[in-house]
C-alpha cells in the first residue's frame, strides 16, 4: 500500500515538473511549479521528515512561488518582450541532453542507493550526541549546535542576496511596482484574522522547533507569508528608505549568532559552541526575524517598508 502512495507522488512530481517547465504559458508554468513544490512537500513527508515538508511548502512552494508571481507581474507591467522560441535543432539537442542526463542520474542514483553502507557515521554520531544537548529534534540540533557554521553562513547568504538585489536596483529606482491593493471589505476581515495568526504560528513553530518538527526557517517563512499578505492587501507599502529598525532586523540573525559564538570563544569555550537551550531560542528568534524581514523585502523589491494607518 505504501508503495502505491510513493509511486503516486513520484509520478506526480515528474508530471508536474514537465507541466511547469515545458510548453504552456509562463503563468501556467509558475502555477504548476507551486503545485510541484507542494507535491515535493508531500514527498518529504513520505520520507519521514516533517521539517523538510514544512520548509518545502513554506519556502520552496510558498515564498518562491510568490517571488516568481510578482516577478512575472513586473515583467508584464514593463511590457518586456517575449523572446523567440528556440530553433528545432536546438530543441532536439536539448532533448537528447535531457534524456542522457536523466538516464545517467538514474543509474548513479540507483547504484548509490544499492550500495548504501551500514548507515552514515555522521548520522550515528548525531544520534549519540543529540540527547546531551537537551534538544529532541535532530535537525534543529544539527542546524544550531553541531553544524552551526553552515546555518550562520546561510543567513549571511540571505543577507548577501538582499544587499545584492539592492545593488542591482541602482539608486534611481526607489522600489519596483506592486499590483494595486485588493482592498475589498472581505480582504480586510481576512487580514485581520490571518496576520496575527501568522505571527502566532511562527512563534509556535519556533518554540516547538527544539523538540518537535519546526524551527527558525519555517517560522521565518510563515512570517514572510504574513508580510506578503499585508502588502497585497495594501496594509504594508514599499518605502524608498530602510528604517533603522528594519536594518537591525535584517542583520539580527547573523550578528546574534556570531555574537554568541564569539563570546563563547572569549570565555574559553570552542568557537561557536552553544551554551544551552536558552541560547538556541535566542539565536532561532534572531534568525526568524532576519529571514522573515529579508524575504518580505525581496518580495517588495524595495529598500524599506512602511505601514499605513487604516483608512
Amino acid at each position: 500500500m505504501s508503495l502505491a502512495i510513493d509511486l503516486l507522488i513520484a509520478t506526480g512530481l515528474v508530471v508536474l515538473a514537465w507541466q511547469a517547465l515545458v510548453g504552456g504559458s509562463l503563468f501556467r508554468g509558475i502555477v504548476m511549479f507551486i503545485v510541484f513544490g507542494l507535491t515535493m512537500a508531500l514527498a518529504w513527508a513520505r520520507l519521514g521528515s516533517p521539517d523538510l515538508a514544512m520548509a518545502e511548502a513554506a519556502i520552496g512552494a510558498g515564498v518562491t512561488g510568490a517571488l516568481l508571481m510578482i516577478a512575472y507581474w513586473r515583467l508584464r507591467a514593463l511590457g518586456a518582450n517575449r523572446p523567440a522560441p528556440r530553433s528545432p535543432l536546438r530543441a532536439r539537442v536539448a532533448l537528447g541532453v535531457g534524456l542522457l542526463s536523466a538516464v545517467l542520474v538514474a543509474m548513479i542514483g540507483l547504484a548509490a542507493v544499492g550500495a548504501i553502507g551500514p548507515g552514515g557515521e555522521a548520522g550515528q554520531a548525531l544520534a549519540e550526541a543529540l540527547p546531551a544537548t537537551g534538544l529532541g529534534n535532530p535537525i534543529t540540533g544539527v542546524l544550531v549546535i553541531f553544524r552551526n557554521l553552515d546555518t550562520l553562513l546561510e543567513v549571511a547568504v540571505l543577507l548577501a542576496a538582499y544587499v545584492a538585489s539592492r545593488a542591482v536596483m541602482g539608486d534611481d529606482k526607489a522600489a519596483l511596482p506592486l499590483p494595486p491593493a485588493q482592498d475589498a471589505p472581505l480582504v480586510g476581515a481576512l487580514v485581520a484574522v490571518l496576520a496575527p495568526l501568522a505571527v502566532l504560528v511562527a512563534i509556535y513553530l519556533l518554540k516547538a522547533g527544539s523538540q518537535l518538527p519546526g524551527g527558525a526557517f519555517q517560522a521565518g517563512a510563515v512570517l514572510a507569508a504574513g508580510g506578503v499578505l499585508l502588502m497585497l492587501a495594501g496594509r504594508l507599502h514599499p518605502a524608498p528608505l530602510c528604517g533603522v529598525g528594519l536594518r537591525i532586523a535584517l542583520v539580527a540573525g547573523t550578528v546574534v549568532f556570531s555574537g554568541v559564538g564569539l563570546i563563547m570563544l572569549a570565555l574559553g569555550q570552542p568557537l561557536l559552541a552553544i551554551p544551552g537551550t536558552w541560547a538556541v531560542y535566542l539565536i532561532e528568534t534572531a534568525m526568524m526575524i532576519s529571514i522573515g524581514a529579508t524575504l518580505v523585502l525581496l518580495f517588495a523589491g524595495s529598500a524599506g517598508l512602511t505601514g499605513t494607518p487604516r483608512r
Binding site: S2, D6, L7, A10, T11, L13, V14, A17, A20, L21, L26, I30, F36, G37, W44, L47, D51, I59, T64, L68, Y72, R74, L75, L78, A80, N81, R86, A91, L95, V97, G98, L99, S101, A102, V103, L104, V105, G109, L110, A112, I116, G119, G120, G123, L126, A127, P138, I139, V142, L143, D150, T151, V157, A160, A161, S165, V168, G170, F217, G301
Partner: protein
C-alpha cells in the same frame, strides 16, 4: 524507510526535465524555475542516497537540505531582481538577443 528506488528514478526524471527545459527555454524566468526544480531533485537524491540510521532516515542530510532550500531561495530571489532590472534596462528577458551594449 520507504522505497528509495522510486524516489531516485523520479528525481532523475525531474533532473532530466529541468536540464532539458534549461537548454530549450529562452525566457529566463522559465530557466530559473528549471534550476530550482533541478535543485529539489538533487536534494531528494541527497536524502535518499544516505544510509538509514536504525530504521529511520539519517537526520544529517535533512538538515543539509533545509540549508540548501534557503540558499536556493536566496539565489532565486537575487536572480529575479537581476532579471527584472535586466528587462527594465535592456527590455529583453532572454540571454539570447545580444543587443550590443559596448560603448
Amino acid at each position: 524507510m520507504s522505497h528509495a528506488e522510486v524516489w531516485v528514478i523520479a528525481a532523475a526524471a525531474v533532473f532530466g526535465i529541468g536540464l532539458y527545459s534549461l537548454l530549450i527555454a529562452s525566457h529566463l524566468l522559465r530557466q530559473l524555475i528549471a534550476i530550482k526544480v533541478m535543485g529539489s531533485a538533487i536534494f531528494l537524491v541527497l536524502v535518499v542516497a544516505a544510509g538509514p540510521i536504525d530504521g529511520a532516515l539519517d537526520g544529517l542530510p535533512k538538515a543539509l537540505v533545509l540549508t540548501g532550500i534557503v540558499i536556493a531561495i536566496s539565489a532565486i530571489a537575487f536572480a529575479l531582481a537581476l532579471l527584472v532590472r535586466l528587462a527594465e534596462v535592456t527590455g529583453s528577458t532572454s540571454l539570447e538577443d545580444e543587443a550590443d551594449d559596448d560603448r
